[in-house]
Amino acid sequence: MDKLTVSPSPHLHSKVSTASIMRDVVIALSPAIVVSILFYGWSEILVLAVSSVSCVLLEWLIAKYLMKRPELFSGWSALVTGLLLAMNLPSTTPWWIAVVGAVVAIGVAKMSFGGLGQNLFNPAITARVFLLISFPVQMTNWTVPNGFIGGVDAISGATPLGIIKEGLKAGESISEVLAANGMNAHTLLRDIGGSGGEISALALIAGFIYLLVRKVVKPWIPLSILATIAAIAAIFNGIDPEHFTGPNFNLITGGVLLGALFMATDYVTSPMSKWGGVIYGVGIGLIVMMIRYFGSYPEGMSFAILIMNCFVPLINRAFHQKKYGRA
């Protein structure tokens, strides 16, 4: 009674905290993680463990000993970065490459900008792009799904996106590429090798719906990315189906879903307003399709998100809330 607090209003606070938000993101990622472990087995577990532990440990070490501000260690947020990084790596990635990725994600992309909330670029994607350019062989050594469930031996090979890109570069048409690789339009959508987080569309979507229900994210950014990709693919594929892949294929393959649902929606590196988010999403969709159709890489989701990350401060400046009584 003799120790009453006096402070300005409000005297209530919602139960949502940064930690509870990041915990929700971890929960949302878990279906896709489980599926990737089932598909890729022990090697995927190793990548997930090394990446997560290195990210959390590195952030703690940097906050405590380099920045000397231990309160900047964000805990759950570092775990989210670690999981997303692992989900962006092939399951065959050597453990030390995952550690290098963690150094780039946490050390370079996040903490050198001032830690949580201050970074311009998505840490996990920055690390993925760094690794892709530095270790192109290891980073494109995709395994066709072959883990705790399914076949016996792991087969290493390129992803459908990669196969088609190579074929088109060599001057073949899409049907010739598919025939030459013993694939057809049906298996194309089934055997989509890729990094841990890319292989289960359903698990990713289920996790994202959880985030929507928990009101952690809003749907505008993913919807505008997916709609833009589908629209561009429909137009080009409609004009010339022999040289341009179609909407379904482009939506389901590569990092589109993982990127659109979980990477492009990162609070810190995406616009805050609804219409800002739509511009950002359309930009990502455009850049992905430019890279896929006309660039030299088979996939462009990471680059697209990083490029649009640069525009976020400008977009935030251009789009404001609708104000009361100032229409």
Binding site: L4, H13, S14, G115, G117, M272, Y324
Partner: protein, 449 residues
């Protein structure tokens, strides 16, 4: 029927109406009351009694100190013991009249019978005079003198009188109780104010979490059959009872920044004010009583109360009537948990606008502040469409013109931003300081013109 609500922002805190089923109890009289001269918005009232005078209940103690000011009446009968500074509940010194209570003998000409008087005086000047002379002020929080608000400036006309029964603040139940127990008087009060405002239509807005009140008021409106009064159900959403938000919800009009509700033809009065208007006009009874809720999340259900109190009663007296202050209390708040003031001084006296003594436990403690993750929840929650994260940053950078350009002066201090922030950033603390500075700059600039 469609439920009405405002169009921008808002939050959904748990409503925690723990005292909703507690009938209004009349408190006994204390030995002393301390009547503040500043219980309304505007200039403090000027005492017209001297130390040693004996006063009767309802007798005028002080007269208005300016155009925007109000009469103050004695809540008890007794002897004026002293007139001087005393700390109010926020700890600021205000002039108070201290009265030794000797019984409860009411002044002449006040009708204390319970009979409902439904016939409304024809003369609006008479009505306004009664409202003014009986010291009626807005009881929804701002305590703006009611006779001023009911006298639109020349050339402005009221299109709608909105009676605010939203009571959107969690915990508070005093408006709910009077809507149930004083229903007819509130409806007559509304009809009186309609008359003053040129017989404009009246909408009584009540939030959906008070269905009993909605039914009671609907029945009363039908029974009394005054023209042009209707009841609307409002969605449960904070700050539904904010003046600007309520106008948006009911009339689908928005008051321009810096403007007044009357600019869009709206006059908003709280239901408790309507009751005070009824008593002032029909019974010639001054505003010396009001209802407050004693409640909180750290006191047991049998300790929740709705009390009819006399203004000037020390908060400590009311708290004692309700029992000991609980061990777990971290904060005592006068008013709602979103906009009320933390009580620094339990010896402070109640005023006309007192609406609660709220005991908050551990849940009110502020969490550890973390870095902003730019989630945008504050901007989504702001009912004025402001960007609190941006305002805080501009305040930290000392950018006054940036703050003004981003409308910091429009902030209604509802607390939605700070409530919503997952990083526990004290957004409103910062915005209040920024708003005060920018308002000062705007006033200085206007004074030069």
């Amino acid at each position: 029927m469609a439920k009405l609500t405002f169009s921008i922002g808002g939050i959904h805190p748990a409503d925690s109406k723990l005292a909703r089923d507690c009938k209004i109890e009349t408190l006994p009289l204390p030995d002393k009351v301390y009547v503040s001269m500043s219980q309304h918005l505007g200039a403090p009232a000027k005492p017209v009694v001297a130390v040693g005078d004996s006063v009767k209940t309802g007798q005028i103690l002080a007269e208005p100190g300016g155009f925007i000011s109000a009469y103050v009446h004695s809540p008890v009968s007794g002897t004026v013991k002293s007139i001087g500074p005393r700390k109010d509940l926020a700890g600021f010194n205000q002039t108070h009249i201290e009265i030794d209570v000797q019984g409860d003998e009411w002044a002449e000409g006040i009708d204390l019978t319970p009979e409902l008087v439904t016939a409304i005086p024809e003369d609006t000047a008479f009505i306004l005079d009664r409202i003014k002379m009986n010291g009626v002020v807005g009881l929804g929080g701002a305590t703006f003198p009611t006779h001023v608000k009911l006298s639109p400036p020349p050339g402005k006309k009221a299109d709608c009188l909105i009676l605010n029964g939203a009571e959107c603040e969690p915990f508070l139940t005093s408006d709910f109780r009077i809507l149930l127990e004083r229903t007819d008087e509130i409806v007559v009060g509304a009809a009186i104010m309609q008359k003053v405002l040129g017989c404009c239509p009246c909408v009584i807005g009540i939030e959906e979490n008070k269905p009993e009140a909605i039914a009671a008021v609907r029945a009363s409106v039908a029974r009394l059959a005054y023209p042009g009064i209707r009841v609307e159900t409002l969605r449960k959403r904070y700050p539904q009872g904010g003046e600007k938000q309520l106008i948006d919800a009911v009339m689908h009009r928005q008051v321009r920044s810096g403007g007044l509700p009357i600019d869009v033809g709206a006059v908003v009065q709280n239901v408790a004010t309507s009751l005070a208007v009824y008593e002032a006009v029909q019974k010639n009874k001054p505003l010396v009583t009001n209802v407050l809720t004693v409640t909180g999340d750290c006191i047991s259900p049998d300790r929740q109360h709705n009390y009819l109190f006399r203004i000037g009663m020390p908060l400590s007296f009311i708290a004692e009537q309700a029992g000991e202050v609980p061990e777990g209390a971290v904060k005592l708040v006068s008013g709602g948990p979103m906009m009320g003031k933390a009580i620094a001084n339990l010896d402070a006296a109640t005023v006309k606008g007192s609406s609660s003594i709220l005991y908050l436990g551990e849940s009110t403690r502020r969490g550890q502040q973390c870095p902003c993750i730019r989630c945008g929840r504050c901007a989504d929650a702001c009912p004025m469409g402001l960007e609190p994260f941006l305002l805080k940053r501009l305040w930290a950078a000392g950018d006054d013109s940036g703050l003004e350009a981003n409308a910091v002066q429009d902030c209604i201090e509802c607390g939605c931003c700070q409530y919503s922030c997952p990083a526990n950033i004290p957004l409103l603390d910062n915005i209040r300081m920024a708003k005060a500075r920018v308002m000062g700059i705007i006033r200085a600039r206007n004074a030069k013109k």
